[in-house]
């Protein structure tokens, strides 16, 4: 079982590799990947340095090209595929059917993975991508319960990768337009959820308001921490109450499920967070490396150590974690 860690920049890449990541995934500095934020991602120089570092340690690099090109940008995505093939990426992680088609026909030797943004939640969908484009692996959206993950893995024609830790998307990835509805840009079109230019923090007499595209997403009292305003983690009014109608600010943590994921034949655990700091990547990679090694040695008796849970809790959104959809009661 591989540990796949996020590399938003060169320091994060090194931190992940130093702490034992088998693979780092990264994107180029534009809207061809779903973490298109200022200051993140790789240019030619940092990419070369990063590749040298990863290969000197015998590990792998995956390139995320997981957004949906509109006609205006098509050539940029083609160029990004060319670049990934050129650098001999160990895999290209893509979502768009047109991009997969281009990559598969132009570079038959470039290994393809279906991104979580491809929204494939069942094995019939995976067959489509396997038969048409020869994908080798798929990353599952964070909406399946543990038995459902197991069922997909049993019947899938490809390897399965799942999210183990990080910010929790509560919607099927690749089909969530909440950000563009409020702010004109979505992960699909622009590679970002809640574009920074549309985010406002406003201090008021009673506390802090957070807005996206002018929409009041949340309001916290003095002394409370105001999170980054994503639509799915805002507080709204319905049925005469104000509440987190979709989800609380919380992170996914599946450490408890590691033996089950291993038994289900899951090939890789993905850590979310290319937008997070190198310190986050270091901490999370270290804990998960230890956990996976411990689980591989003796899956029967695997129990997440308290210190691991504390360390992961400390870097979690809202300082709390959940099993998310893996656990039926969350749904």
């Amino acid at each position: 079982m591989q540990l796949v860690c996020p590399a938003g920049n060169l320091p994060s890449l090194k931190a992940a590799i130093d702490e034992g990541a088998d693979v780092v995934y990264l994107g180029f500095k534009d809207d061809t990947n779903a973490r298109n934020f200022a200051g993140l991602n790789f240019n030619d120089r940092t990419l070369d340095q990063g590749l040298d570092y990863v290969r000197s340690k015998g590990r792998e690099v995956y390139v995320a090209l997981n957004t949906y090109p509109r006609p205006q940008g098509w050539q940029r995505w083609q160029a990004a595929v060319d670049r990934a093939a050129d650098m001999a990426a160990d895999a290209l992680i893509a979502a768009d059917i047109g991009v997969l088609d281009y990559a598969a026909s132009r570079y038959p030797d470039l290994p393809l993975h279906l991104s979580v943004q491809g929204s494939a939640t069942n094995y019939e969908a995976l067959k489509f991508y396997q038969e048409r484009f020869g994908i080798r692996r798929a990353v599952l959206p964070r909406v399946l319960s543990m038995p459902q993950v197991k069922h997909v893995a049993e019947h899938a024609p490809v390897e399965i990768e799942v999210f183990g830790f990080g910010s929790l998307c509560v919607m099927v990835e690749g089909r969530c337009l909440l950000s563009s509805y409020a702010a004109g840009q979505s992960p699909n079109t622009h590679g970002c959820c809640s574009p920074a230019g549309e985010v406002r923090y406003q201090e008021t007499a009673t506390g802090m308001e957070t807005r996206l595209g002018g929409v009041l997403v949340d309001k916290v009292g003095r002394g409370e921490t105001a999170g980054y305003p994503t639509v799915c983690k805002g507080r709204y009014d319905a049925l005469d109450k104000t509440y987190y109608a979709l989800e609380e600010p919380t992170s996914l943590n599946t450490l408890d499920l590691l033996p089950e994921l291993l038994a289900a034949g899951v090939s890789a655990i993905k850590i979310e967070g290319r937008q997070r700091s190198p310190a986050y990547v270091r901490q999370v990679a270290r804990v998960w490396r230890q956990a996976i090694d411990s689980c591989l040695r003796d899956p029967q008796h695997f129990r997440p150590r308290d210190e691991w849970m504390q360390q992961l809790g400390a870097v979690s959104e809202g300082q709390q974690t959940t099993l998310g959809a893996y656990h039926r009661t969350w749904q």
């Binding site: 090109p69 509109r70 690749g174 909440l178 979709l246 989800e247």
Partner: protein, 294 residues
């Protein structure tokens, strides 16, 4: 251009649904999409009921398409989808790649709904090769993207645009309607029956923002492209989709029908919306923006 009626996105009582489609039989829509696309627990209308409705509408002169679920997780959901794909007489709308895969493998022509992500002509070509006959523009794309896609579009594929209705924005494993009532999903008590147009979420400033409909999240505002029909015709759009709502669907269809005939006044439809209108996506802006404030 033709008019279509999309699948009913909400959970309506059986009698209401029957009454609704009896009315549809006499409305000036050319194409009707039938079936449950949101939640597999909604079973007041079963496969045979949908098929019976399909026959009734076909006899009334409609082109009928059977729609499939957008989020397929359980094997039972795949099973229902396989049965619909194998119906043998009606075209099927795939709302997930699973249905595309099955229909393509069976060498059946199909249509795709708005959740099959088709953002460029290269994607459209792959789907056309698999048997696609008509597609729906992703709801977050607008005229510039559509114009670019159609420049390189394959022959023989029709284009449909979501032109009226609360916009399907996202879906989840979690049931937000059950959550609103503090109920577990497995014991949801079918509370979505009480919200025939979804449950409106307002911001803490009282602005209508989203609408929850079981596992689906919609816009609170109703997409209204009635004033863009001529622009769409010039771009090469073949079909305009009206998404059914609890009340006034007939009047909305009549208004669109008149607009397509170049008759009547396209204004004043705001009064028929649950809370208000929007058209930002069509103009390549934030979806909630609206250019024609009443």
């Amino acid at each position: 251009m033709k008019l279509s009626l999309g699948p009913v996105q909400y959970y309506w009582p059986r009698e209401d649904l029957q009454d609704f489609y009896r009315e549809v039989a006499d409305l000036p829509v050319d194409i009707v999409y039938l079936g449950e696309t949101v939640c597999s627990k909604r079973r007041l209308f079963r496969y045979d009921d949908w098929l019976e409705t399909a026959h009734m509408l076909r006899e009334a002169g409609k082109e009928v398409v059977l729609s499939t679920m957008a989020l397929l997780e359980a094997e039972s959901e795949l099973k229902t989808m396989r049965r619909i794909c194998a119906n043998g007489e009606f075209m099927v709308e795939a709302n997930d790649m699973a249905a595309v895969q099955l229909l393509s493998a069976a060498e059946l022509s199909f249509t795709t709904g708005p959740t099959v992500n088709t953002y460029n002509a290269a994607t459209l070509k792959v789907l056309a090769d698999a048997g696609l006959k008509r597609w729906v523009l992703p709801v977050e794309l607008g005229r510039d993207s559509l114009s670019g896609i159609l420049q390189d579009a394959p022959q023989g594929v029709q284009t449909e645009v979501f032109a009226w209705g609360r916009i399907p924005l996202a879906m989840s494993a979690r049931c937000y309607t059950a959550r609103a009532y503090d109920l577990p999903k497995d014991d949801c008590q079918y509370r979505c029956l009480d919200h025939a147009d979804g449950l409106t979420l307002r911001t803490r400033e009282g602005e209508p923002f989203l609408a929850i409909n079981g596992i689906q999240t919609q816009s609170a505002l109703t997409c209204n492209l009635i004033s863009k029909t001529e622009e769409m015709r010039q771009l090469g759009v073949d079909v305009l989709r009206i998404s059914p709502q609890a009340r006034h669907t007939g009047r909305i269809v009549q208004a669109f029908s008149r607009a397509l005939a170049g008759e009547g006044d396209a204004s004043g439809l705001e009064a028929l919306m649950p809370v208000g209108g929007c058209d930002g996506y069509w103009r390549e802006q934030a979806g909630m923006n609206y250019s024609q404030e009443p």
